[in-house]
């Protein structure tokens, strides 16, 4: 079996993607020593190389646009290659938080998505006042498309909204302004190796600075994780069901990571779905796998075996 792990690309999450790809490739090599596992960046030679190599399976671990917005997966399908992960259209829907929030039939914080042009044409002050009236404060402002909390910030004072918008628009054309739900931040991995989607133990995230930003995500020691999350059994079960529901409603495939805030009443509020979850040393799905008594290599071998049966 020849497997190509795709990682890197040109998004701001390039570095994270390379680390994720390296870790998954190493785990695959350890779990399946007979397989040939290659790591490959995204560049102009990729398609020619894949066409000539005709690998048995591709594992796309490119984060951010292209990797998660369905485009790369569309190209893999055009080439007739088997790959691990969600198909193009579900990826597209999941990557755009605005669309994902509209599609899933679970609780999700109230939000508004607006492009820069709306603020420019209608006047930022008026639009921001309307947002304040609709959502109140605090709110979370983030790019509608993108990951790793790049360009995201929590706004607690009205005067901070303009700067938060500038930060979000630095990473994309559309900003999502979302009501801030007070509660426990959790991430739930969903795995489907052929027997239907199942939730891994929820990972509870407690960043030192209160906000799970880029530095908190990728600096070991700056965030405390509890796996499984410190939830009552019924709340944990409800969150797991919600994660599987989101995975299914978005028609995701193989694996995903679904992020929630769980409020004091135990309600999981859906934030976003990820079709190429981070797999670095500080990422969440690997921690959940460990807590479940599983490992990256075995899971990926199962997903690759499942993927090759689909071609």
């Amino acid at each position: 079996m020849q497997v190509v792990v795709l990682a890197g690309g040109l998004s701001p999450e390039r570095d994270v993607s390379i680390r994720s790809g390296r870790r998954v490739a190493e785990a695959l090599r350890a779990a399946a020593p007979d397989w040939e596992v290659l790591e490959r960046d995204i560049d102009a030679d990729l398609l020619g190389d894949l066409s000539s190599m005709q690998p048995d399976c591709v594992v796309p671990l490119v984060h951010g646009a292209a990797g998660e917005d369905g485009a790369l997966r569309d190209v893999l399908e055009c080439l007739g290659l088997a790959y691990v992960g969600s198909r193009p259209n579900p990826s597209r829907m999941a990557f755009d938080k605005t669309i994902a929030k509209a599609v899933v039939e679970v609780d999700t914080p109230a939000s508004v998505s607006l492009p820069h042009s709306t603020f420019r044409e209608l006047g930022a002050a008026g639009v921001l006042r309307a947002l304040d009236a609709r959502l109140g404060l605090p709110v979370v402002v983030k790019p509608a498309r993108g990951g790793s909390a790049l360009g995201a910030s929590v706004v607690r004072e009205p005067g901070d909204l303009p700067a938060a918008m500038v930060g979000a628009f630095a990473y994309g054309e559309v900003a999502l302004i979302e009501a801030f739900v007070i509660g426990m931040e959790v991430a739930i991995g969903v795995i489907d190796t052929g027997a239907g989607p199942r939730a891994l133990p929820a990972v509870e995230i407690v960043p030192d600075g209160g906000f799970y930003d880029y530095a908190a995500r990728y600096t070991a020691g700056t965030t405390e994780f509890y796996v499984p999350a410190r939830l009552a059994d019924d709340v944990a079960a409800r969150a797991a069901d919600a994660a599987v529901a989101v995975h299914s409603l978005l028609k995701l495939r193989d694996w995903s990571r679904i992020d929630f805030i769980i409020d004091a009443a135990g309600t999981p509020w859906f934030l976003e779905a990820n079709v190429a979850p981070g797999m670095t040393e500080t990422s969440l799905v690997p921690q959940a796998l460990t807590a479940a008594g599983e490992d990256i290599g075995s899971m990926m071998v199962s997903l690759v075996n499942e993927a090759v049966t689909r071609v």
């Binding site: 040109l10 701001p12 901070d160 930060g167 990473y171 880029y214 990728y218 020691g221």
Partner: protein, 438 residues
């Protein structure tokens, strides 16, 4: 299973020294990781254009060295550095007017190590180092690591302002602080692209002498001048040429031969030299004999002055491309320095814009620069960026400036919409690229 304490994924998290607190993952560095891709025109890193080096000649030099003196080159050497090389460094320094005894030279792993050694020997936590505003990021990192108090002093068109320097020293003394050192890059400043004229150098030296402060002169670009900055056809005369006792001079072969060999040096007064050697031995035992002897053989057998000319012409052409295209493309309200040598120009954005906030948009547009904040210890520099012209070909530089102009124009529009060009969150961690990310 629910732990009383969660997992921080780093068992040593409570053991790190206080000075390690700022060592976090960096959003800005994540962007620089993209900048290393060939699709991106990187005006960010300061990588010398080693392709202009005669690689065949270097290959012959290395091959001959290993074949004929390999047992010495691949062995430990002296902590102070190879004696032959130190003689040759004397010849190199003569180009900038310095007469120094080889015994007073300490060869280091790049001049960065010399910076570290001098700071280690001179500065206790809290001691004040006066630096230009802005200043070299690598020096700021060293001063921070030794817990120095860094005070930025403004520059004008001729660099560090003497009046402002004297005032800053006075204020520091009045506050009960301990001024210790003045750190300056007088020729083709990094990142400012500014050069001190002869009188300015004398004025700064006068202040250092009067105040009893060590002057740390960092001169990696001194031989890479294009225009006359008051010294005629000669390279700018080093400050050290006029004071052997009060100045420690740092030099480097990184820009004139090859940065990958990591060979630099410090020229220091006798007493200081002794301490630097002991500090060097504690840090690395000795600099690489192999790298030193490669440089030494190259200097002895190759026309190194001609090679420096080649570098100079290469960088002059690139400087011209950058300045010309900036003039053509930059929107109103943008200004930049006109370097007479070296690698960098310092660009000031229109009022209200923030180079750090703008960087993601620039990288998405496939152009990169270093935001000005990296060159200050106090968060200043948001309206500025460093543009490096040393590595990309002239046409790529022009393309990069065209892309950058588009990004700035969009940013002007964004700032007009929201009344601010700043972002709410301040990215943590280093805001400059790693050395290998051009």
């Amino acid at each position: 299973m629910t732990d009383a304490h969660g997992n921080r994924l780093d068992p040593w998290v409570d053991a790190y020294a206080t000075r390690a607190r700022g060592m976090t993952a960096s959003e800005i560095r994540a962007l620089f990781a993209v900048a290393s891709r060939p699709e991106v025109v990187s005006l960010a890193g300061g990588m010398p254009y080693v392709s202009a080096l005669n690689l065949d000649a270097m290959a012959d030099t290395i091959s001959d060295l290993v074949r004929t003196r390999g047992t010495q080159a691949l062995q430990y050497g002296s902590g102070q550095g190879d004696a032959v090389l130190r003689e040759q460094i004397g010849e190199v320094m003569a180009e900038v007017g310095i007469t120094g005894h080889p015994d007073d030279i300490v060869v280091t792993t790049g001049s960065q190590m010399a910076l570290d050694l001098v700071t280690r020997v001179f500065c206790d936590p809290g001691d004040v180092v006066f630096v230009e505003a802005p200043s070299y990021v690598g020096a700021l990192g060293v001063f921070r690591a030794y817990e120095c108090t860094v005070i930025h002093v403004p520059m004008d068109d001729e660099g560090l302002q003497p009046v402002a320097l004297a005032e800053a020293i006075g204020r520091a003394r009045a506050q009960g602080l301990r001024p210790k050192m003045i750190y300056t890059i007088p020729s083709f400043h990094n990142p400012g692209g500014i050069t001190q004229g002869p009188q300015r150098r004398r004025d700064i030296l006068d202040i250092a002498q009067r105040e009893g402060l060590l002057l740390l002169e960092d001169d990696p670009y001194g031989l890479l001048g294009f225009d006359d900055v008051g010294f005629g056809d000669a390279p700018p005369r080093a400050i050290r040429a006029d004071d052997a006792d009060g100045v420690v001079y740092l030099g480097s072969f990184s820009k004139t031969i090859a940065s990958g060999l990591r060979v630099g040096w410090a020229l220091a007064p006798h007493g200081v030299r002794e301490k630097l050697v002991l500090a060097a031995e504690a840090a690395v035992l000795c600099p690489s004999n192999y790298a030193q002897m490669t440089i030494s053989s190259y200097l002895a057998t190759q026309p190194w002055r001609e090679q420096v000319k080649v570098f100079r012409e290469t960088y002059r052409e690139r400087r011209d491309a950058l300045l010309d295209e900036l003039t053509r493309q930059m929107p109103e309200g943008t200004t930049w320095t006109h370097p007479a040598g070296g690698f960098y120009s310092w660009l000031t954005l229109p009022e209200g814009l923030d180079a750090t906030a703008m960087l993601p948009r620039a990288v998405a547009a496939l152009v990169a620069y270093v935001p000005g904040t990296g060159f200050y210890v106090d968060g200043s520099g948001r309206q500025h960026m460093r543009l490096s012209y040393c590595y990309p070909e002239p046409e790529r530089i022009r393309e990069g400036v065209r892309r950058l102009a588009g990004v700035i124009e969009t940013e002007v529009e964004l700032a007009a919409t929201f009344g601010t060009g700043h972002t709410l969150h301040d990215p943590a961690g280093p805001s400059t690229p790693t050395p290998d990310q051009a």
